[in-house]
């Protein structure tokens, strides 16, 4: 039977979001907006030391405070659940096999604290103020220990051990080579080397983490959890295991989420502690992370030292590329991913759209007494692009070849091909076209002229390019390409209700991406319904089928694939009913405008409501061969990997007197295949670009030499503001992906994957007259001044 596919009315349209009005009216519901009867409030006692033995904890004075309901330490809780082990409680989360040294993280540190902010006790009280008062009265007998602060030193034999149970601070080493890198280096006319330090970042969503747990005991025992998160169903799976509570008695609800960016795609110790204390006190308990906790004790990301070597011939053809990635990953493995993700994905993305035969990498992830590092939008890929694009510009500068031209000379063709690292099965793209288009949008040649003119006036602008690729649509095969054989499964349930309403139920767990709008667009088109008929239900384990959650630029592709399949099932059933009723052939039934009609005779039509009424309530009007008349289908979709691509160019001006870098322009040419809603795609790009500017110029998580965190407030960790980010000049190229049902590719991370490399290169380009090497992020005004002072000193030394 072949049922017609409806015409697109909504896909590709710039539709405003249906979720906006409630958010604009202050009627969203975030975790901290939820108030339950009898609810108590938790606060954590955290280590002020980077590394310290806990000789005892005295809670008596705190417990005596009126309104304090209970105080719990590791001795009270750690035997009840845990420890948390990355790569074990995984269910699709791990990216490593057995060759990882496992950190076993207790719910509350009982013997040693391993980073500033490590939690050692939790106070539950009538309100948060009291809970924090009580935290100050908890007396911990600390014995400070020498801290491991530098990942490079952590590798030496005489370094203190972050985890004495492990043989080394280096918890994973992996390497890879294709071709013969050393031979290519040895015979190449030019070899370039540099060390690049990608600084610590933080996803830092504006809404910090938060959880409410309501544990009921007795015959109706069960746990309901409200949590600001990206993976409702996986959270239920993790908690079910750890709390030994059957999934049927565990409900996870994710309300509105104030940004996630990967941070909220983890399992944290607090997520287990809060349900346990709810059980112990027999009342609902809420914990809302404050900003200090967020900055000190959630997850940081992507602190990686990159040792880069590139070999080129006289024409700038790249002959070999070798990188060593050394991750400073903090005190514990993040659950579920393991700390290999940053160095691993840096390595797996180091080749991008370059055509190089001899490529090799090594990756190491080294424990230190700092905040653990985990997933942040663009995991590792940002580092990979920074490392590669930075050395590519070095090659261009030293061989005096234009950086656009050098990239074009080394660019792969547009057709699908296999990149040996992974291997990644590229789904084809527009790698050179995006470079050319970016150059045109930029007005490149005039800009270079202006750069020279301004230099005469003592003003220094720089142009930096990144030709990027984004590994998106994460599913089983993408995971396999990154070294993990973990199946993914995501279900979507599509229902036509008796009155003709269409309900899309999905466990994908959005945090600002606009799924209520985009999935409705897609479902409306796939069924031929009106947009207003469609409602999207999401992120509640009791109302939606299983999903692996929203992360890795996957929701759009995964959700749309499953919706398209389920819609096909429903169209078939509805076409059968309509054909029977209208006395037409099933093949002649077409869908559109909320109706099924006979082709060529549009007046012969049934509305969705009329069809549904027959399906639900009028068996006598159903065709005999209808089978089950149910207008519901639950389907899954596990896409092949997609590789979006594009070119971003940053134009910056560096004030050499103050060291301040101002981002003047960002030109962003991207190809994410078929676009579902261009407004939302552009919004994802612009937001990622801002984060990329932030992480390359402003945002810093500094530790002093003893391991003390210096960036515990938003006055130290600087978000980019409206004055720091230009409006992004976005241009699209569309190469539909042959790998996905919808032709879409993942796009949500490209802004942050690509922008830092462009900004770093732009600063280096601006400062090129001074012969300085930009070799780290973030590039703060102090850093620029230090580079210029050093350059001045060395040039003076050379002339004397």
């Amino acid at each position: 039977m072949s049922v017609q596919t409806p015409q697109h009315r909504y896909v590709g349209e710039r539709l405003v979001r249906v979720e906006d009005p409630r958010l604009l009216r202050g009627r969203g519901q975030y975790v901290d907006d939820i108030d339950l009867p009898g609810m108590a409030h938790a606060a954590f006692v955290r280590s002020p030391f980077p590394h310290a033995r806990i000789n005892g904890i005295d809670v008596e004075a705190a417990l005596a405070l009126d309104g304090v309901f209970g105080i719990f330490t590791g001795k009270d809780l750690n035997h009840l659940a845990g420890p948390l082990i990355a790569g074990r409680n995984d269910y699709g989360g791990a990216t490593l096999g057995s060759d990882l040294l496992e950190t076993k993280r207790q719910l509350l540190a009982a013997d040693k604290a391993r980073h500033v902010g490590d939690a050692v006790a939790v106070v539950v009280a009538r309100d948060r103020y009291l809970a924090e008062d009580a935290c100050e009265l908890v007396h911990v007998d600390w014995e400070p220990l020498p801290a491991v602060v530098d990942a490079n030193e952590a590798l030496s034999d005489d370094s203190p051990r972050v985890d004495e149970a492990l043989a080394s601070n280096n918890i994973v080493h992996k390497d890879f080579e294709t071709g013969d890198v050393q031979a290519a280096m040895d015979s190449a006319p030019h070899v370039f080397r540099k060390r690049f330090h990608h600084g610590r970042c933080h996803p830092a969503p504006l809404e910090p983490r938060g959880i409410i747990a309501d544990w009921t005991t007795g015959a109706d025992r069960g746990v309901t959890v409200w949590i600001s998160h990206q993976m409702a169903h996986l959270m239920r799976t993790y908690l079910s295991e750890l709390l030994q509570m059957p999934e049927g008695r565990l409900r996870v609800i994710v309300p509105d989420v104030g940004g996630g960016f990967g941070l909220k795609a983890h399992l944290f110790t607090e997520d287990v502690v809060i349900p346990l204390v709810s059980r112990a006190l027999d009342r609902p308990v809420k914990w809302i992370e404050d900003r200090y906790e967020n900055l000190a004790a959630s997850n940081h990301a992507r602190e990686v030292f990159c040792d880069i070597e590139a070999a080129a011939d006289d024409d700038g053809r790249l002959l070999a590329l070798r990188m060593k990635f050394l991750g400073d990953v903090g005190a514990y493995s993040p659950v579920p991913y393991t700390p290999w993700i940053d160095v691993g994905m840096a390595a797996k993305s180091m080749l991008g759209s370059y055509d190089i035969d001899n490529v090799g990498y090594t990756t190491d992830a080294v424990l230190t007494n700092k905040c653990p590092t985990g997933a942040y939008r663009g995991v590792g890929q940002t580092v990979g692009q920074c490392a590669r694009e930075s050395i590519v510009d070095d090659v261009a500068r030293k061989l005096d070849i234009d950086p656009f031209e050098l990239r074009l000379r080394n660019c792969i063709g547009d057709e699908p091909r296999v990149n040996p690292i992974g291997p990644h099965h590229y789904d084809g793209g527009s790698y050179a076209e995006c470079l050319r288009k970016a150059r045109d949008v930029l007005g490149y040649d005039e800009l270079r002229e202006r750069q020279l003119e301004l230099r005469e006036q003592g003003r220094y602008i720089g142009i930096g390019i990144c030709n990027f690729m984004e590994h998106g649509a994460w599913g089983s095969k993408t995971y396999r390409a990154h070294g993990a054989d973990r199946p993914f499964i995501d279900l979507v349930r599509l229902t036509v209700e008796p009155g003709g309403s269409v309900v899309v139920a999905t466990g994908l767990t959005p945090n600002g991406q606009g799924h209520e709008t985009t999935f409705a667009q897609l479902a409306a088109d796939a069924l031929g319904a009106d947009l207003e008929q469609v409602r999207v239900v999401q992120a509640d384990t009791e109302r939606t089928p299983f999903s692996m959650g929203t992360r890795g630029s996957r929701s759009g592709v995964v959700g749309s694939g499953a919706i398209l399949r389920a819609a096909e099932d429903l169209r078939e059933k509805m076409a059968q009913i309509a054909a029977h009723q209208l006395e037409a052939a099933v093949e002649d039934i077409e869908f559109g405008g909320g109706k099924a009609s006979v082709r060529g005779a549009p007046s012969q039509a049934l509305t969705f409501r009329e069809i549904a009424q027959i399906a639900y309530f009028a068996p006598e009007k159903q065709p005999e061969d209808i089978g089950e008349p149910a207008l519901v289908s639950t389907r899954s979709y596990d896409p092949d990997p997609t590789y979006g691509n594009g070119t971003v160019v940053a134009v910056v001006e560096v004030d050499v007197k103050t060291g301040i870098v101002k981002t003047e322009r960002i030109v962003f040419v991207e190809d994410c295949g078929v676009v579902l809603n261009p407004m939302i795609v552009d919004g994802q790009i612009a937001g990622g670009v801002a984060q990329g500017i932030g992480q390359s110029l402003l945002e810093q998580l500094a530790y002093d030499v003893d391991g003390q965190l210096l960036s515990g407030t938003l006055k130290d960790f600087l978000y980019p503001t409206a004055g720091d980010v230009p409006s992004v000049e976005i241009a699209h190229v569309v190469t539909p992906s042959p790998a996905t049902t919808s032709g879409m590719k993942g796009v949500a991370e490209s802004g942050i994957i690509a922008t830092p490399a462009a900004v770093v290169n732009a600063v280096a380009d601006a400062l090129s007259p001074f012969s300085v090497e930009v070799d780290h992020t973030p590039i703060t005004p102090n850093d620029v001044r230090a580079l210029l002072r050093a350059a001045q000193a060395s040039s003076q030394a050379a002339t004397t």
């Binding site: 405003v16 979001r17 979720e19 906006d20 009005p21 958010l23 604009l24 009216r25 202050g26 009627r27 969203g28 519901q29 975030y30 901290d32 907006d33 108030d35 405070l65 009126d66 309104g67 309901f69 209970g70 105080i71 009270d76 009538r126 948060r128 103020y129 830092a204 969503p205 504006l206 809404e207 509105d256 989420v257 104030g258 940004g259 960016f261 006190l281 900003r291 600002g512 991406q513 606009g514 407004m679 552009d682 919004g683 790009i685 612009a686 937001g687 990622g688 670009v689 801002a690 984060q691 407030t713 938003l714 006055k715 978000y719 503001t721 409206a722 004055g723 980010v725 409006s727 802004g751």
Partner: protein, 174 residues
Amino acid sequence: MSNVAPVSDGSQDLRVIRVVVNGETHTGMAESRTLLSDFLRHELGLTGTHVGCEQGVCGSCTVLVDGELCRSCLTFAAQVEGSRIETVEGIADGDELHPIQRAFQDNHGLQCGFCTPGMLITTRALIESNPDPSEAEIREHLSGNVCRCTGYAGIVAAVQQAAREIASADGGGA
């Protein structure tokens, strides 16, 4: 369990605070140290005002107190006794979105929505004091409000549209 405390007797430093929020008189209890943000959210149930840092930096908690922009996370409830406060819940006119809110929707000036209440209140104050702001003025005025999602482009465009619409509506009424 030995570490579970006896139930509290509830004695504490509480006072009655009377404020007019969005035109309605509200009375609630607050300790001397209760922050205005917590008073609005947890005592009066006006959860549209958000708390992103409690350090006075992110701007999510911005409200108007007697017409002045105010970081409610850096203000004690006791300080605003008797004041008129405007929060995000008071911007729309019943079912009808305010032109500023409509402009934010039209221009994709919000994604997760967490910074949005502070952005709307700050925008309203800007347009009231400067009906025709330049892009640079908008960016400067909003520089105390952080957005982690949008990259600000949609927000800036929204403020421009809202200023235009409000000016033309005012012009039409004059």
